[in-house]
């Protein structure tokens, strides 16, 4: 799976869990400000990503993650 396809799948998860406009899920989008996602929303999103990609993301790696790009980087590093 190339990075573009991975991002598309990432985006699908984010749209489903956060119920946001797909056009808003861009690398520079901030979860809190731009996607109206709080910390529990992120936990739910990470669960969906773990399922989708068959990966395991320890909570510690999510500290300081504020943007889509940062989150995608964490996911990509597991693929």
């Amino acid at each position: 799976m190339g990075p573009e396809e991975s991002f598309e799948q990432f985006k699908e998860c984010a749209v489903e869990v956060l119920q946001v406009d797909p056009a808003k899920v861009v690398p520079e989008a901030r979860f809190a400000e731009d996607l109206d996602a709080d910390s529990l929303d992120l936990v739910e999103l990470v669960m969906a990503l773990e399922e989708r990609f068959g990966i395991d993301v320890p909570e510690s790696e999510l500290e300081g993650v504020e943007t889509v790009e940062q989150a995608f980087k964490v996911v990509s590093s597991k693929l």
């Binding site: 869990v17 529990l40 929303d41 739910e44």
Partner: protein
């Protein structure tokens, strides 16, 4: 008068502040919204052991993200509360000092379906897949909390959990908060969404559900209750405040009482003693005599034991023939903790329409129930004091006295 310090027989009681109902909201299988609900109470219900609110949708109140997570009991509570608050003139006109405004929504099992669903995920996928929204979604106080947040109510925000007595007791407890002077306005009611595999299995195996699929309270052939769901909500206000702002007053909460059977966890005390005491205390609280009561909105679940005990309790407290008795559970089934709240809404609508809806499903009143059951069709009625009863597993009894507005 929602007495603050009742005398033993109601005399010499120190009356509390008067509390009126200025908003109504309801979600029931026979109708969502007070108008549809009232019409539904006058029509023939469907047959079946479960009576869901078909086509219920609260997405307009939650938005696409929240609605997926909001338990059905929460969605129903918010829908009912929203209607009640809008009907009372909207939250800006209603709220006043937010520190003296509160919410009080009772439930029996809260977000039970959320709990069941997440338990299935736990067993299928393991603990790491259990939703972070399980705890806030299943907790019984969630509906009260949600309503406080939505409407900016910062006074008491509580939840009575007394099984099927919770709706009545929540409204009573909320009214008392106004009577004592702690609050000026309360959004109160009850909500329940128990219709799922585990809920149905539990009630079926305790032989509480009907086999015939017909709810027929006080009928000689009654054979258990139909499992319902729904929510009822009212806006309660201190009377002079409601008058000052020109609010429409549906009815007044004149008194209430709460007692326990102290007998058995699911069976009512056979002589209805706890229920009799509850009704008598509620009347003393309201400083109204039994002979003044013209209508009783009964708990009337359609189970053999409840209806026998309640009929005996009513007979003891009111004599023969006594007030006109109806049970709307003939139409909507037993909505558990929502029942008492939905029934207060029904009483307010009866007062408005001068009409008592019939006990649907009941064709042949049990001769051992020596009470005047309204059957066959609605009965014209000159509104007067009403008692509404709710009894819950655990031996909880709740009675509330509602009177027409002056």
């Amino acid at each position: 008068m929602l007495a603050l310090s009742p005398g033993p027989d109601g005399s010499g009681a120190l009356a509390g502040r008067r509390v009126v109902i200025t908003g109504l909201g309801v979600v029931a299988s026979c109708g969502v919204g007070t108008e549809a609900f009232w019409q539904g109470l006058l029509e023939e219900p469907p047959v079946g052991r479960e009576r869901p609110v078909v086509g219920f949708d609260a997405s307009h109140l939650f938005g696409p993200k929240e609605v997926r997570r909001a338990d059905r009991f929460l969605q129903m509570a918010v829908t009912a509360a929203d209607e009640a608050v809008r009907g009372a003139g909207g939250i800006e006109a209603l709220r006043g000092d937010p520190e003296r405004a509160g919410s009080y929504i009772g439930t029996g099992v809260g977000g039970f379906q959320t709990l069941c669903e997440q338990d299935r995920i736990l067993l299928e996928k393991g603990p790491s897949r259990v939703s972070p929204f399980l705890v806030p979604g299943m907790m019984c106080n969630r509906a009260s909390a949600e309503i406080s947040m939505r409407f900016g109510l910062r006074g008491p925000c509580e939840c009575t959990v007394t099984a099927c007595a919770a709706g009545t007791q929540s409204i009573a407890n909320a009214a008392r908060l106004i009577a004592t002077g702690r609050c000026e306005v309360m959004v109160a009611g009850g909500s329940e969404a128990p219709i799922c595999e585990l809920g149905v299995a539990g009630f079926t195996n305790m032989t509480a559900l009907t086999r015939s699929g017909i709810s027929k309270p006080f009928d000689v052939a009654r054979d258990g209750f139909v499992l319902g769901e729904g929510a009822g909500a009212v806006v309660l206000e201190e009377r002079s405040r409601a008058l000052a702002r020109g609010a429409h007053i549906y009815a007044e909460v004149a008194g209430a009482a709460s007692t326990a059977d102290a007998h058995h966890v699911t069976a009512p005390a056979p002589d209805g003693g706890g229920a009799t005491r509850c009704m008598e205390l509620a009347l003393a609280d309201a400083q109204i005599s039994a002979s003044e009561v013209t209508h009783i909105n009964a708990h009337g679940t359609s189970t053999p034991l409840n209806d026998a005990a309640e009929a005996e309790a009513i007979h003891k407290a009111f004599g023969s023939p006594g007030p006109a008795v109806t049970s709307i559970k003939g139409v909507i089934g037993h909505t558990l903790a929502a029942a008492g709240a939905i029934e207060v809404v029904a009483v307010a609508l009866s007062i408005q329409h001068h009409l008592i809806p019939p006990t649907a499903g009941t064709t042949n009143v049990d001769p051992s129930c020596e009470i005047d059951v309204v059957t066959g069709g609605p009965r014209d009625w000159v509104p007067g004091p009403v008692v509404s009863n709710s009894f819950g597993f655990g031996g909880h009894n709740g009675s509330i006295v509602i009177v027409p507005p002056e």
